[in-house]
Symmetry: C2
Subunit: 430 residues, 2 copies
């Protein structure tokens, strides 16, 4: 892992850290376009054919049955179910609080304006397959969608060679209230949810991360008016710590992020050269015996860095430019809260020594679907807002309208819209 | 204008009303791609060349000077300035209320999570040119951007053949606190704000509607990671009214929406056959002498309809399927508020006889940038949310983390992420 003083980085080193892993979406665009077009034209038949080719399994019934979900419950451990339910409870508590309404604003006497929240009626969730299983991600999308009242909640995931979906994923879906679950993965699943097939209903917005084909499919259906949650990329953490931080904690947190994949990133900025050295040594120590050690080592060698900086403001400036998905701040005294005030770009912030990023990943109640690769400059993480819209409502009295009558007159006239002026004037005629 | 009983519409008629005007973005994609690529490669030189070709004017200094803004103030009427400022005051009041913070949620003892709002640092606004002038739209984007604290706020608009921008537009920009104003329009302006040039700084998100070239340019730069406000299309209103509504008001409101352009739509759903007939007659009567009458007539003939329905729920069901940009509800008693509860898809709702849509367009304080063409199923109108992100923050005590330790353990283990487990366990070692 690169270890350096921040202001001794070469331009090339700095740029490599900032840039992180980039994926070449152009390369697969043509293939994905073809898959989407075929799903649109042929529906379920195309889904079955792609599932045969890509997942190596013949799926007759695309929809997961109630019996399959019951078998999934029977196969998971009581400890898993208890953990999942504690996570679901905390996620529900935090997201429920996001639903609080906005009060009515009287912008002037007799003019009342407010906003009402309305669920997006049809939403879809993609859950990736392969060797990894992510029940926690099912909760992160499923719970806010249910809380806000999305009427149709669909989930797609690629089946294993035996035609099944992982039991923890099915249990998580059921716990989150997702009733429509389908065995189809890849770009073809995104196409199915965007266009609809005989079996799978079309939705207005698609959530969830997958491989490059899935990511490109989401971009392509967006052009056709089906919105996506946010651009998804490799996971990352940036940690700001001073000499009071425990190097074991900092090392463990860098590693936990890096184990997501060889393209993940973990960056430490510290005012303490001692901590920098201790963290580097701790990473080596903690890697021993860890099953994901090769992935972690590759990720930290490629996209990781331990950077010593002169002061905390310098670290925050770097973090704001980096716009990390996860930002941990471990400083003495009230340094964490003071630093937070200066943070402009981050997906989620973890304050203090006992808020490791995996707490938010799993069970604290926060949402772990967050913008990556610098997109935190622009996007929020998932919340009830992602599954709903705010509709403006206004109600005016005759006097309220009278109070803005002259302004509407002059503005409509300036804009060359006499019928706009007329719509107000007609209300005061005679 | 089509007048019919709702359940006597042919499938073709119903589909034409629902579909509204569609634009063929494919047709101009190639040209727009070429413009964007040249702006990216050649910067200001490309902007000057396109401005020469498309706007017929040689612009040396792309940036609008302070002196030009001062001259604009000198040229507008006191009535205009007063109207603009009243609108700005009401818009500020309504949008300020949207900034209210979310309180800290304790999802479990010792686990605190909240969200902080952070402005998108760099935003750009496109203002269309041509014969029409839209100072009100400048307020709608400029005021929330300033309120939420976007650091860099850029505006681009195409210059007239004499090289000037319209005085009302410049005054509105100044009133809304936009300091960086540039004389460039069309797809080239979108490219300039997306990629940056020597003169025009790059932004993260582009707002504002324009012609088809502008709309396609916004879609194309989105693929490169520059977000857009929402897909923009022709304006529309859907009105639900019973026999108590004043036909003069309803006719005026249908017309005010239709005057935006020949592709605009105005649809009335009423439980009263008498009102239907009266509104049709009123439209003819009010069209006399109106400068925009030909546009209104064309729009209402193409995309307008007066539909008699059996009851209010039938009208609401149609409206929810239509997902109108503007929805007016004019019913007796507390019918307006009861109907609002059933509205799922609309950009903005106007309740009662004294809330004509132009009130919200100009001066009530609501935002008039709203989703069109059915996009209200999916998008909210502009608000402070459009110019900011919510960053999750969490802080845990040691006991708080201990309370979810077992859940993280089992979930991380299920997901094959041992370093995630380790990041928690290391905090309880020794």
């Amino acid at each position: 892992m690169l270890t350096s003083h921040l202001n001794q980085l070469t331009a090339e080193q700095r740029s490599r850290i900032m840039r992180r892993a980039e994926s070449d979406t152009e390369r697969v665009r043509g293939v994905v376009r073809e898959i989407l077009d075929r799903v649109r034209a042929e529906g379920d038949a195309a889904l079955r054919d792609y599932t045969r080719r890509f997942d190596g399994v013949e799926v007759q019934d695309l929809r997961v049955s109630e019996a399959e979900v019951e078998r999934a419950y029977a196969s998971v451990s009581p400890a898993f179910l208890h953990g999942l339910r504690q996570a679901a409870t905390n996620i529900t508590t935090f997201h429920q609080a996001q639903l609080e309404g906005q009060h009515v604003v009287e912008t002037a006497p007799g003019i009342h304006i407010w906003r009402v929240r309305r669920a997006i009626e049809r939403v879809g969730l993609y859950v990736p397959g392969g060797r990894k299983i992510y029940p926690s991600s099912v909760l992160m999308a499923g719970i806010p969608a249910r809380l806000v009242g999305c009427k149709l909640r669909v989930m797609c995931a690629p089946p294993a060679p035996d035609g099944s979906l992982p039991a923890p994923t099915l249990v998580a879906a059921k716990e989150a209230g997702i009733e429509h679950i389908y065995k189809v993965g890849g770009a073809q699943a995104i196409g199915a949810m965007a266009y609809g097939t005989e079996t799978i209903p079309a939705v207005y917005k698609v959530f969830g991360a997958g491989n490059l084909y899935v990511a490109v499919a989401k971009l392509l259906v967006r052009d056709a008016g089906v919105e996506l949650d946010m651009p998804a990329g490799p996971s990352e953490v940036l940690i700001i710590a001073d000499g009071t931080a425990d190097p074991r904690f900092v090392a463990a947190d860098l590693m936990s992020q890096a184990e997501h994949g060889e393209e993940s990133a973990g960056v430490l900025l510290t005012t303490s050269p001692e901590l920098a050295a201790q963290v580097a040594a701790e990473v080596e120590r903690q890697l021993v015996g860890l099953a994901t050690a090769p992935t972690i080592r590759k990720a930290l060698d490629s996209y990781g860095a331990i950077l010593v900086c002169t002061d905390v403001p310098e670290a925050i400036a770097f973090a704001n430019e980096y716009a990390p998905e996860h930002l941990e701040i471990i400083l003495a005294g009230d340094g964490n809260h003071l630093a937070l005030e200066q943070v402009t770009n981050a997906g989620a912030v973890f304050l203090g020594p006992y808020a490791p990023e995996p707490a938010g990943d799993y069970a604290s109640g926060s949402n772990h679907v967050l913008p990556t690769g610098g997109a935190a400059r622009l996007y929020s993480g998932l919340s009830v807002d992602s599954f709903s819209r705010m509709v403006e409502v206004q109600e005016l009295t005759r006097d309220g309208l009278a109070s803005i009558r002259a302004s509407i007159d002059v503005l409509a006239t300036t804009e060359g819209l006499p019928a706009h002026r007329n719509a107000v004037e007609v209300r005061f005629d005679g």
